[in-house]
Symmetry: C2
Subunit: 429 residues, 2 copies
């Protein structure tokens, strides 16, 4: 099929009827397919099963003699701090190891900013009539949800193929003292798979901000989640911020949720020595420490399998064919129709698709009708509002290849139908 | 030795010199003993070691088909909800299973109260110029620390041997809309080992409060932590509050921190159906769910050993001799001297000692000088200020019996020295 915009009225109508008939056939198949969330598939989870029975009674003491079974060690066991330090290229002393969810750590960091402020001298953010976060969009819906829940105004900022539009970012933070933060997924971003360029990282690290307590929430969720042998590389925001004289600006978050088990991984909060000291003091009121046995279990497992890189290669071997299938199907079914564009990331968990303007919500609804669940249209934008109604996030990891092929056939046909039905209605009117 | 108050001046001086010499001998022994925190001992921790290697690859699916390895199940796996429900005598639907720390859940519940309010119609507590919590004292230092950290004013309320002084409590909450909560450890209380009487529970559940969004923070940490075969029993606060027409008043917290592993247990938040629904909605912004593998690991372990009661009996068999030693030594060394009183609890983790007024800080300092660390004097009161400077919390669980005997000898001698040195100085002046 060729460019939809070049079809005659008759061809358009014919194709419209074909696609409607196709959708009826899909409906009759009673499918239940889900490409909505970035969940690892069961075969990925099986890669870490050896971890479960790894620890035994005489292996519960850390290298420095700490009993992982008992209370204590607010910032995690030394082994786990060192492990995250090596992955994130920082000093172990810059790491606080947390529980099973970096999302919780991010939520709590924002909540503490509101209740207590982010440094000794700073006012609690809740003492302002309102504060704002910059939200490079499309972005991660759960970041935006934290802001919405906690009453923080969100300002969307455009994403480019090397990160947030820095002209917009710099202009905004320079003028407004109530802009206190920015959400970033700097490597294999959610949903576009963009890795921030060196120039973008340096500008984020060194830009002048009106707020002296501005913070970058650097969600490095996919730091080791490569899909190819030529992975993207990311400049260290902490290094750059330190060089620029703003060492306390970045808060870095990461976890093993998509390395071992999403429900039972370990997470890290990483920042400057000042921020770590300040945060440890605050954390000591909330917890006596995260699950140290699970930290040790992770470390021993990574040691046993010869390093986490081996594990990540196995993940890639399972996921990459799914990404390829998604992209190949998009190319085959929509490649020359001029009604959609998509990303081809080197890592992470998502592919981002842009339909024609005004079509995304319709596509998601059409897919839903025939049993395919997608991330809601608009979810990748603050307040769930995609101003152009065009972005859809595809999460290909959980379904099997067979399910995924079905899902992508449905998806592509729905995109085409949504594009054509608009034109048909226009030509009828 | 007899009542210190009946000694002649010469006898007093003689005893003073004896005790000073004794303390010098202790010093020369270079002891390092710790009775400061309620930590289980290593032999208690060993009781649960079988749990570690219990789960294998084919046992990770819950009874209702949920994959514990993946994301999801915000309120915990059904098995864990049922387990806590049976312990706390509520319906499983009233349980949200949390991570390794009920302290975190308490902190977060207060923080959400401040940021968002405790019900749809209620104002965020942070929108008041200030709010207050009632603090039955002596009480748990980490409860008071949460209030201090989050800027909540604390009003101490006397503890009686059947719970908080309810005349004080009722009078306060009736008049002041900004009193939003009360901290309670209702069973084997920290530090006195008091279990709230039926009358106290009923009055707490049914009292009129000026604030419509008043909450009871019911930290049922020691619900199954009995030391005798005739355990205390506690009336259900949730039942009583429901009967009284205030179903949403109590928040109940519990955990397995002192059942399995303090650093790697599971916790529960338990409340009315309305509160559970409201809290789940709020929690969904903070987390996708706690560690479900660890939940399943706990349940399978309890099943395997024939129920948690068996485990708790083994704990008691280790702890009870320590409690006995503490109480016997207090009796032998201070029994008839009229300078100290103490509690003899049927469960929990602490013994509470009252010295003569004005002596507690001095006793703790004297003990510290010879190498014995106690919970700080005043720690059991809001802001660390014991108005009579007399309460000291003893945590006998962690040391061995031998260490504990040494520690108690030191402790009793320091109490006597602190009492006598005051009298000697007075008689000198």
């Amino acid at each position: 099929m060729s460019n939809v915009n070049e079809l005659t009225e008759e061809q358009l109508y014919q194709r419209y009827e074909q696609l409607k008939a196709q959708l009826e056939r899909y409906k009759s198949e009673n499918m239940t397919l889900d490409m909505s969330r970035g969940k690892p598939s069961p075969d990925q989870l099986s890669l870490s099963e050896e971890m479960l029975a790894l620890l035994t009674a005489d292996e519960l003491i850390t290298d420095d003699g700490l009993d992982t079974r008992n209370y204590g060690q607010l910032d995690g066991i030394p082994e786990a701090k060192s492990w995250f330090a090596s992955i994130l290229e920082v000093a172990p002393s810059q790491v606080i190891v947390g529980g099973n969810s970096s999302l919780s750590t991010m939520h709590d960091t924002v909540a503490r900013g509101l209740l207590k402020g982010v440094e000794e001298e700073a006012k609690p953010w809740s003492s302002y009539p309102s504060i704002k976060f910059l939200c490079p969009s499309p972005g991660y819906d759960r970041h935006f949800a934290i802001c919405e829940f906690l009453g923080i105004d969100m300002i969307p900022v455009d994403m480019t193929n090397e990160g947030p539009n820095m002209d917009q970012v710099e202009a905004l933070v320079l003028e407004d003292e109530t802009i206190k933060g920015i959400w970033c997924v700097p490597k294999y971003s959610n949903p576009e798979g963009v890795t921030y360029s060196e120039a973008v990282v340096k500008r984020l690290a060194s830009m002048k901000t009106k707020a002296t307590d501005f913070r970058i929430f650097w969600d490095n969720a996919y730091v080791i989640h490569h899909l190819t042998d030529t992975p993207d590389s990311l400049v260290s925001i902490l290094e750059e911020a330190k060089k620029a004289g703003y060492p306390n600006r970045p808060y870095v978050f990461s976890s093993t949720s998509k390395v071992t088990f999403p429900g039972a991984g370990i997470s890290a909060f990483v920042s400057s020595p000042d921020n770590i000291a300040f945060t440890k003091k605050q954390l000591s009121f909330q917890t006596i420490g995260a699950d140290k046995i699970n930290q040790l279990r992770h470390i021993r497992f990574f040691e046993k399998i010869g390093g986490v890189e081996e594990l990540m290669k196995k993940h890639a071997a399972i996921i990459k064919p799914k990404f390829d299938l998604v992209i190949d199907t998009l190319q085959q079914k929509l490649g020359n129709k001029n009604i959609a564009t998509w990303t081809e990331p080197n890592g992470g968990y998502f592919i981002s698709v842009n339909t024609e303007n005004g079509c995304a919500a319709r596509v998601v609804a059409l897919c839903k009708e025939v049993g395919l669940t997608l991330t809601g249209a608009g979810a990748t934008y603050p307040y769930g509002k995609d101003p152009l109604d065009r972005n859809i996030r595809i999460a290909p990891s959980f379904p099997t290849l067979e399910e995924l092929q079905k899902a992508m056939n449905v998806f592509c046909d729905c995109i085409e139908l949504a594009a054509i039905e608009g034109k048909v209605e226009k030509s009828k009117a």
